[in-house]
Subunit: 334 residues, 2 copies
DNA sequence: ACAAATTATTAAAACGTATCAAGCCGCAAA
DNA sequence: TTTGCGGCTTGATACGTTTTAATAATTTGT
């Protein structure tokens, strides 16, 4: 009933199991006539290859592991969709792991990946602990960083330049006439937040301003709720001319907080977010934002990983850095 | 280097491979002293079980397949997070498949699942073709429907009552004094859209109104952009007192379209969405919406599936129907 | 027409684990 | 002492595939 094996197919087609395996894996090695005979037997019997047996013998599976920090974040969701795209195209299955920023959970995911003998791992590391990843690589499992630049040359990575992104945002605000600029951000321990601030300061310096004039408003979370609290803080401390947020969710919260207080955007205060999530263009005042090639990030990371797997000899490790893009909308048009 | 097997562990601990397998799978069957000895050998050698070999011999793997229609939709993302939660807790890996509503792609995902010999499949079917799923079940792979009620008693499913949800939304609008109610929806071939409309009509009837008085505004997509177009259509045809949208994305678009035209929400028009996505509470006018227990949906579906796998004898198939919840916010407070 | 070279196919040996019948050992009952 | 018994452990086998060396079939060159 359930399980029809390569032997059954061989018997039906009047060939040996080895030949069936050949039409599966190296069709060009087998004569056209026998190949069609085997293919017919396969479809008549509804045979599907037993992946476990295959990877046991072959020494590697056709799966890759994907470990992200928060699958609920639209950013990572888009990345995951990109990964799934090319993995699926090349016949690979994607095993999903959600670390929730918890390193124990991340560790457990990596163990599961190791048990499944995944061909490779795509990971947005939740911290800088390289040793753990080295242990994975010792097992012959390739690792590619996603949204995190690798510091070592023997390690592939894809990321987006957050410093440039921050600079673009603030340069745009200065160009629009802003004198006093605020930066609403998440925890400064997050690399992305720190890099974007650095970019903001660079833009100020480039315009001949004092980088220290940037009004920093640090929040513990990067949600819309936190953004609203940030707006209250800004209202209390005196409004700046422009606000740059480390995140679209924060920006949407700030927007709402300001509007509630009767502040008009962009007339009274200009506003820029980051990520260009779908909702940035759906809010009451559409949001100027920094777009990142999220989907592409996932695609390229996967291509890099599979290239490393398929051509271990000729593969050249790459640390790819994408450039972000400024999307101007109503929140800065005045 | 890479690969240390159960035999190496056995040699190190001075026992037979069979015993090592026992401490892995039935620890209670082996004497405490040898067990600790084996466990030490395992950690000293950094042994991790070869999942493929294990499932080849055991006849089933510790993976489940998850096939969703659109991983980019926050609704499915939340579901996936719930699935990952309990799967990870029980030591299962989740293989992700994104069908994009394309039945060929869904088919390919199911093939990948079959090759991996997943223990079971969680699927939000993109159409009503039961035959394809029957073929999966013939292979001994259990299937649970997610966000889709099963019509047959030999099939588990979890879903949320969309008729009730639609009724709640419109009853709330009527209670708020609405005379003329519009329903902005996606393609009517989508079950969820049809069910929610049915609920809306039921609420009208319950209030002594003519169900046919519901002004239906069908769109081809369920995005914010489509919502904005719907708002234009409503403005052209004469505004209703209230608008019920099949989707929060549509509702956010409608909100934006109305505000741009100077229509005030909720003073001039009341508005209700569906799904209660995070952004419903982050928009300029916060959105009244129908909340679904998305995360729980994924959790329960997975529990059902794993119960079916682990206790094939005693498992009772269930078709679970959750109830939605009305979340009242500014868009209907007047 | 015969050897050589090429192409197609086969048989058998792994891959790493789970399982199960059989064996071992020490101890209580006879 | 013998027998029986129960708890632990072992050894051998099978799971379904890939791979390699060897054999058979076919073509080519002379």
């Amino acid at each position: 009933m359930g399980s029809v094996s390569i032997k059954d197919v061989a018997a039906r087609a009047g060939v040996s199991p080895g030949t069936v395996s050949n039409v599966l894996n190296r069709p060009e090695k087998v004569a056209a006539s026998t190949r069609t005979r085997v293919e017919r037997a396969i479809s008549e019997l509804g045979f599907v290859r037993h992946g476990s047996a295959s990877s046991l013998r072959a020494g590697h599976s056709r799966t890759i592991g994907l470990s992200v920090i928060d699958i609920g974040n639209p950013f990572f969701t888009d990345v995951a969709a990109g990964v799934e795209d090319v993995a699926s195209d090349r016949g690979y299955a994607v095993i999903l792991g959600n670390s929730s920023g918890d390193r124990m959970k991340e560790q457990r995911n990596l163990l599961v990946f190791a048990e499944q003998r995944v061909r490779g791992v795509l990971i947005t590391p939740s911290d800088e602990d390289q040793a753990r990843l080295d242990r994975i690589k010792e097992r012959g499992i390739n690792v590619v960083f996603v949204d995190h630049p690798a510091t070592r040359p023997d390690q592939c990575s894809v990321a987006v330049n957050d410093v440039t992104g921050g600079a673009m945002a603030v340069a745009h605000l200065i160009e629009g006439g802003a004198e006093r600029v605020a930066y609403v951000t998440g925890p400064t321990s997050i690399r992305q937040c720190a890099d974007r601030r650095q970019g903001a300061e660079r833009a100020l310096a480039a315009a001949g301003r004092d980088p220290a004039s940037l009004v920093e408003v640090p929040m513990t979370a990067m949600t819309a709720r936190a953004g609203q609290q940030a707006a209250e803080k800004l209202l209390a401390e005196g409004l700046p001319d422009a606000v740059f947020c480390a995140n679209d969710l924060l920006a949407l919260g700030v927007l709402r907080g300001l509007m509630h207080a009767g502040v008009r955007v962009p007339d009274d205060v200009a506003l820029v977010g980051y990520d260009d999530i779908d909702f940035a263009s759906a809010s009451a005042v559409t949001l100027t934002s920094i777009r990142q090639p999220t989907h592409r990030l996932g695609q390229v990371a996967t291509e890099l990983l599979l290239d490393e797997c398929d051509n271990p000899g000729s593969h050249a490790h790459q640390q790819i850095m994408f450039q972000p893009e400024l999307i101007v909308r109503e929140s800065t048009r005045n």
